[in-house]
Amino acid sequence: MMRFSRWVILAAALSLPGALLAQSKPWGIDPGRSTMKDVRSRIGMPSVIKFNAAGEEVWEYNNNPNGFHAYRIVFGADNVVKSARRMRVDADRLQIKAGMTSKELVGIMGEPSLIYFIRNRLYWEWRLHYFGNQRHRLVAEFDEDYTLKSTALIGAQYRGSGTTHGYGGVTP
């Protein structure tokens, strides 16, 4: 039993660098080297093309409405990747504060997976991983003035919503 545990720990330790590399360089996209053409050929068409406040082109792969992974790739003026990272992670979620506008929320989390109204109140949802790889839905409720009122994390299998069965979209 003791020997088995050692093997498990060894395997986990060996797989950790690979997992970290996959997170830091999705699809092997290497900031500073990879070009926009590389990104297009390896990942495909982005879900959203936009320009940030600095005027840099941003491609988002949000895998909406069913995916739990989302990626944001920022290009420099020379069409070389400036940064490539996963979005909708805990660090993003923790930036969300009551009173934020829809523009600020999209800037942090990307476009929502779902938009709906209940009793005339606006709700947005994103699908994300929480606490490791636990599939969750982040539900944002807006106030009457269309600013964020509150958020709630709900397990993806809550009430058998079936969200875990959806197509997961593109992942590295």
Binding site: K37, I49, F51, V106, E111, I115, F117, L122
Partner: protein
Amino acid sequence: MRTAAYVGIALLIMALVGCAARPTGDAAIYGKSPQGGTMQEVRNRTGLPNAMRFLGSGEEVWEFNDRRVAWGAWRVVFERDGKVREIVPIRRPEDIARVKTGGASGSEVLELLGEPSGVSFVGQDAVWEYCLADRSRLRVRFGPEKKVVMSEAG
């Protein structure tokens, strides 16, 4: 004889209904426009937008541009209180003409034509491809300065 009269009347009614239902103006060119006077109504009647943008003043813009099946594209601009300010078709001839003059940046092209249907490359130059309402395709090529250097429809 009576049957022929009934058939004739039925055909006449069908023709009248067909004429009444025929879309006119922008709708004829760009397909069915989004409907509704508030964000909730647009969401309920038209569905989720294909892209969401924000004006410099912070107002929310929903873009309906189903890249795979539709040729027309629409933009819905909301006031801060969720009311619809305007529903306008994009990729209009005047928008295309402005892009064709060259020199526009990517963000200006996005504003005029919306999200491209496809992105390809000539060398390292990006080429954005749009499906237009007249069933033609527009290719917009960006040079190294990330400004439009060439656009052609075909």
